[in-house]
């Protein structure tokens, strides 16, 4: 495909500008944002009638504190090239495409149904008639990008490996499938329409051929966490509300403390990891639920294992959903109402050194197994400032002691460093005012390669 935009007519302003006349207004807002440098951070820009767009640029990448969309498609990639310049070029292409797609534009300047007649369209086309659906695309780097398991430094990045980008330990009862683990790069696409999320990964994968290839992907639905106080708490496949105590975007002080990587982290690191300041770490765990046996469990046991009521989501110590659990309250025989091995007790910040996570998980159902049971569960996603303090200790506790583990099995795993966002106004745009890829195009994670 070509990145030239020599034609007089603006191209690919918006799939909707061409195909969905009624939505023209919202689309124009999305497209106009680039030239001006978007000022909005994390707020949907569309009118009430259509799902909006979220700014691609900003201090942090979108898709973290962004109000969790309903659908997920996440892909981990293996980098197939050993050439650092090819890797950089891939990240430039990806950044441009992500900037375009998240604003409701086609992947390329021509769009799905224009351009040279003897060339394949530069966008695959399946979202041509769909609104942007709040699409966000978030990029991350796995440990193997810096140093392979056998110690090879493929891209001259080994001396930039953050100390916290560790290999996750074996947690009790882990049953990980290597084909669902790790990866050099990760792309999280979230949208309110699964077709929009899948379209994003499909077009990014297409742009990666020759430089990177998909290692594993995960579809998710029914977001299991709320990341904004404006969202009601959703339910996981156990039927319980999930993420009541999650960090919310409206709590910037705690988000700053528990989600973003501070400058102090780089100062304390053994290698130069300043490129990650303002970024985060993404923990991904595919947690299969044995829902068939769970469904045979009495309401008494279900609530006791979770530590909350199934309906309201109130802690068993009393109150309503957002009442803090009181772990000291006892009932018959002086036993605590919130059981010692209940999930809410073991996962609570007061039992984990005060650490909190920004969870952004989704339910999944990947068909069934050979025994006729649904291969379903929770695709756990969490953004944290340091997995060594904010994930590993808690997961060890949960895997060892959480009564729910009877019904859970971790089958996939990944840990990724998520760079900070691209500065507003930094994108290179073509004559039509939309992002294009040139050798000067900025890219997510650029400071790592500086």
């Amino acid at each position: 495909m070509t990145e030239e935009t020599s034609a007089a007519e603006p191209r690919g302003i918006s799939r909707r500008a061409l195909l969905g006349g009624g939505l023209l207004g919202a689309a124009a807002v999305g497209a106009a944002g680039f030239g001006l440098g978007r000022a909005t951070t994390g707020e949907a820009s569309a009118g009430a009638a259509t799902p909006g767009t979220f700014a691609f640029t900003g201090e942090h990448q979108a898709g973290i504190v962004t109000p969790a969309q309903d659908r997920l498609y996440l892909a981990a990639f293996d980098v197939t090239t050993n050439d650092r310049d090819d890797l950089v070029a891939l990240l430039q292409r990806w950044t441009t495409i992500a900037a375009r797609l998240t604003q409701g534009l086609a992947a390329g300047s021509y769009g799905p149904s224009s351009g040279p007649y003897d060339a394949p369209p530069d966008d695959t086309g399946e979202v041509a008639d769909l609104p942007p659906a709040g699409l966000t695309i978030t990029f991350g780097f796995g440990r193997s990008l810096f140093v392979t398991p056998d110690g090879t430094d493929r891209f001259g990045l080994a001396d930039r490996l953050p100390d916290a980008l560790v290999e996750l330990p074996h947690f009790p009862a882990d049953n990980l499938d290597p084909a669902r683990c790790d990866g050099d790069l990760v792309v999280q696409a979230c949208a309110d329409d699964p077709q929009v999320a899948v379209h994003a990964i499909r077009n990014l994968s297409r742009a990666a051929f020759g430089a990177a290839t998909i290692r594993w992907t995960q579809l998710g639905y029914g977001r299991t966490s709320s990341t904004s106080t404006a969202q009601r708490t959703p339910r996981n496949l156990f039927g319980f509300k999930d993420g009541t105590a999650n960090l919310k975007a409206e709590d910037p002080a705690h988000v700053a403390e528990h989600v973003w990587v501070p400058a102090a982290a780089a100062a304390a690191d053994s290698r130069d990891s300043a490129w990650l300041t303002g970024g985060s770490y993404l923990v991904a765990r595919r947690i299969r639920m044995t829902i068939e046996t769970w469904d045979r469990t009495s309401l008494r046991e279900q609530e006791a294992l979770v530590g909350r009521t199934k309906g309201e989501g109130a802690p068993l110590s009393g109150g309503t959903e957002f009442t803090e659990p009181d772990f000291a309250v006892t009932g018959r025989d002086d036993q605590p109402l919130v059981a010692m091995n209940s999930h809410v007790r073991l996962a609570h910040p007061t039992h984990n050194g005060g650490v909190r996570m920004l969870r952004r998980g989704y339910n999944f159902t990947d068909g069934n197994d050979a025994l006729g049971r649904l291969d379903a569960g929770l695709f756990f996603l969490a953004f944290v400032t340091d997995p060594r303090t904010h994930y590993i200790p808690m997961q060890n506790t949960l895997s060892r002691d959480d009564g729910l583990m009877e019904y859970l099995q971790h089958t996939g795993s990944g840990l990724f460093a998520v760079p900070p966002g691209l500065p507003d106004g930094s994108l290179v745009v073509g004559e039509d005012g939309t992002p294009i890829t040139t050798s000067a195009s900025p890219f997510v994670g650029q400071a790592l390669f500086a």
Partner: protein, 395 residues
């Protein structure tokens, strides 16, 4: 073992369901009336002082600031027809109970002390048939005694077998140890919910390698299993398996015997009891064990003797059901018939693969279709079996 050290039994032990005749099947015909109860520090407000006989639902809300309980008491004010306990402030919990015509008392017990705040409650005759009226206390006591006797018998056989196994293993007679391994473990697997109720014993004696935390010391049956059926490096995460030394063998075998003796001692303690709801929960848990561990071949990953464990879990669940069968047949004859039929179907499928006495097909030699058929039979049995506790606690 189960994936957690503190199983559902420990949780269930926090509460003590008493009497009531609960019909689990909403289509069973009894009328359902919704009553609300508000429990505060000084009031126990029931939305109506009368109801028609049948299945009643009391929706109990704790509007006070102390943990509360709600009781339906008999005409004498002493007999507990049914109750719901441990209701935290602000929480609502249902009490579903079958009630025959007569005079009763409702009682809230804020703070869980004293006689409670009582009011008379009258149940008029709806004309519907409301279950049997026999006193089941005696049946339950008999069931509990029978089950404890079964547990003692099994752990007696377990300690004898474990000693024999340990002696062979320590003496380096691996062939004899392998021959005794599965047949001895059968006695453990039959009563595993009891062992799980004793905290650390289960993880110490029955942990699988994958259950461990990084750096945690491994011990028990599966530690020895791996040594008796040493894996190839390819099946061992690429690592060459290093056999245990004589000293390690001796310690591991002695530890196993010691912990098993602990189990024997605890079961034979005069204070040891296992209540009816624990027996019925245990039956369900044994089937869960089959569904999550055995049917996937994860339990005996080196010896592939999963079918012994499978059969033993089913044996244990069947015995648990059988000691309760009189109660179930009186309360819910359809459920009793279904359970009998499905236990028989599962046992017949297992019999196609062998027996505890004659030995079973190694699990890795089963076809996919055979595994699927076993799994389907387990699911078919587990679903009705999950109703057992509500029937027993409602009896």
């Amino acid at each position: 073992m189960s994936r957690t050290t503190v199983g559902a039994l420990a949780l269930a032990a926090l509460v003590l369901p008493l009497a009531a005749c609960v019909d689990n099947d909403p289509a069973a015909g009894a009328s359902t009336a919704a009553l609300t109860v508000s429990s505060t520090a000084d009031a126990c407000t029931v939305s109506s002082a009368t109801a028609e006989s049948g299945t009643l639902t009391f929706q109990v809300t704790n509007d006070g600031s102390d943990v509360t309980e709600f009781y339906l008491l008999g005409e004498d004010g002493l007999r507990v027809v049914s109750e719901v306990e441990n209701i935290g402030p602000g929480i609502t919990r249902d009490l579903v109970v079958q009630v025959r015509p007569g005079t009763y008392f409702t009682a809230c017990k804020p703070g869980m002390v004293g006689d409670g705040i009582r009011a008379q409650f009258t149940v008029t005759d709806s004309g519907d048939d409301v279950g049997p009226s026999g006193d089941v206390a005696e049946q339950l006591t008999t069931a509990e005694a029978q089950y404890v006797a079964y547990v003692k018998d099994q752990v007696g056989a377990l300690i004898a077998g474990t000693q024999e196994f340990a002696a062979a293993y320590k003496a380096g007679d691996d062939e004899q140890a392998r021959a005794l391994y599965a047949a001895t473990r059968v006695h453990w697997e039959r009563v595993e919910p009891v062992a799980e109720s004793f905290g650390d014993l289960d993880p110490l004696t029955d942990a699988r390698e994958a259950d461990l935390e990084d750096g945690q010391t491994w011990s028990g049956w599966h530690y020895l299993e791996k040594d008796l059926w040493p894996p190839l490096a390819a099946d061992n995460g690429g690592q060459e398996y290093v056999p245990l030394t004589d000293a390690e063998r001796t310690k591991a075998a002695d530890d196993l015997v010691g912990w098993t003796q602990d189990l024997v001692d605890q079961v034979n303690d005069p204070d040891f009891t296992f209540e009816a709801f624990q027996i019925s929960n245990g039956a369900k848990e044994l089937l869960d064990e089959v569904a999550t561990g055995k049917v996937t071949g994860e339990e005996e990953i080196w010896s592939h003797t999963d079918l012994w464990d499978f059969q033993a879990n089913v044996d244990g669940a069947r015995v648990a059901y059988e000691v309760l069968a009189d109660v179930v047949e009186a309360q819910d004859p359809d459920l009793a018939a279904t359970l009998l039929e499905r236990f028989a179907a599962l046992d017949a499928l297992l019999a196609e693969q062998g027996s505890v006495e004659a030995g079973f097909t190694p699990y890795d030699e089963l076809t996919e279709q055979e595994v699927k058929a076993l799994s389907t039979a387990v699911d078919a049995l587990s679903e009705p079996l999950s109703e057992l506790t509500a029937v027993v606690t409602g009896a």
